[in-house]
């Protein structure tokens, strides 16, 4: 009975981080052994496994910071849930979190919290984003935001297609700090670089349930599309002028990627804010979200 109960609780805790789940299961196993020794049915003492697991889940989830990574390897955060979990994606756009750097959505390392960047730049206040603002974001702005990564990836693909025949068989694959060629690889590898921008751009076109997640996807895809386009441009230009320093385009595309992704998400949000503000000034005082009753 103890093993069955334990197994049942474990299946309901699959979403918890591995370390938390293991600790919770070890503690529960010990408690179930004590109950068994006393001849008490765990269902009588703890309730149904699903209900007990829900309590446990709430307690442990409440302790975990919202920007926590799935795992940590030698102190470096590692996560794989970004492409499938909107809550995980939301940490890259969280103006209420003052941390500028949060765990990456997919892979090891860190990425920028664009929400904190927008607050530091004075573009938003930390509590500006709420349902009334999101609801008022013009649909045209959302469409433009979604198409931004596609346009950038498309421009990079067009540039590559137009210059493909003039490229040598082997093209630069790495640059030194001065922007000069350090190593070379097959021309076909440029297709993989292109895909790094194009695939997220296509992923950003998929319908999502919320406007904010649509914008977060578009912003993430835009940053990757800019990095991909910057690298493709650097390789094409360097292949044409081998003595030049076009490799510098690659590091230059990093701040450009941040600026582009920030624009993709902040511009629509500010449009929604402006609409919320103008509505507030056009309506009598104390028109609120929620159901306030104070005068």
């Amino acid at each position: 009975m103890t093993a069955t109960y334990l197994r049942s609780v474990r299946t309901h805790l699959r979403e918890l981080p591995t370390a938390d789940r293991r600790r919770a299961m070890e503690a529960l196993s010990a408690q179930l052994d004590e109950l068994a020794d006393a001849g008490i049915d765990p269902r009588d003492a703890l309730g149904e496994p699903a209900d007990f697991a829900a309590h446990l889940h709430d307690a442990l989830e409440g302790d975990a910071p919202t920007d926590a990574a799935q795992w940590r390897v030698l102190g470096v955060p590692v996560d794989t849930r970004g492409p499938i979990d909107a809550d995980v994606r939301a940490r890259t756009w969280d103006p209420t979190n003052p941390r500028l750097v949060v765990p990456r959505l997919f892979g090891a390392g860190w990425t920028l919290n664009l929400g904190a960047v927008a607050v530091r730049l004075g573009l938003l206040r930390p509590d500006d984003i709420s349902d009334d603002v999101i609801e008022r974001i013009p649909s045209g702005h959302v469409r433009v935001a979604r198409s931004a990564p596609l346009l950038i990836a498309g421009a990079a693909a067009t540039a590559l297609a137009l210059s493909w025949r003039s490229l040598p068989g082997r093209v630069p694959s790495g640059f030194d700090l001065g922007g000069r060629t350090r190593s070379r690889t097959s021309r076909a590898s440029l297709l993989a670089v292109l895909a790094l921008g194009a695939l997220p751009a296509l992923w950003a076109q998929r319908p999502t349930s919320t406007v904010d997640d649509t914008l977060v996807r578009a912003a993430s895809a835009t940053s990757l599309a800019v990095l991909s386009a910057g690298t493709v441009a650097a390789v094409i230009a360097q292949a044409r002028a081998p003595r030049a320093r076009w490799g510098l385009l690659v590091p230059a595309s990093l701040p450009l990627a941040v600026a582009a992704s920030l624009t993709v998400i902040v511009a629509p949000v500010r449009a929604g804010l402006r609409r919320a503000w103008s509505r507030a000034s056009a309506t009598p005082p104390h028109t609120t979200t929620g159901h306030p009753e104070n005068p």
Binding site: T66, P98, W277, H291, P292
Partner: protein, 112 residues
């Protein structure tokens, strides 16, 4: 502001109740709430703590918001208690008083 792990853990649930209590007195914008809490060193909280709590309270419909013109900048978001928030505050206050009495007693008489 308390810095020990124990104080931080004890404060976690209390700050939310304190925010409801601040808003029960008057409508405030976020910085005002942080300032009001800061008047009590044990309750002083950073924006990184207060903003997510305000978002959660708003989502739970315990707090309502409205935009209002501000003298030197864009409109500010003001927070106020909803009916559900007032009920939650009353429940929380009752629970707090019971908890405080029990803890005072157990710490004062039974602690070694």
């Amino acid at each position: 502001m308390p810095t020990s792990d124990r104080a931080v853990q004890l404060r976690k649930g209390v700050i939310e109740l304190a925010i409801l209590a601040v808003l029960d007195r008057e409508e405030c914008y976020a910085i005002e709430i942080i300032d009001r809490l800061g008047a009590y060193p044990a309750l002083a909280a950073t924006p990184g703590t207060v903003y997510p709590l305000l978002a959660r309270l708003t989502k739970a419909d315990l707090v309502g918001t409205r935009w209002a013109e501000s003298p030197g900048g864009p409109p500010r978001k003001y927070y106020r208690l909803t009916a559900a928030g007032r009920t939650s505050l009353a429940d929380g206050a009752t629970a707090w008083v019971e908890l405080r009495g029990a803890m005072t007693e157990i710490l004062g008489t039974d602690a070694p």
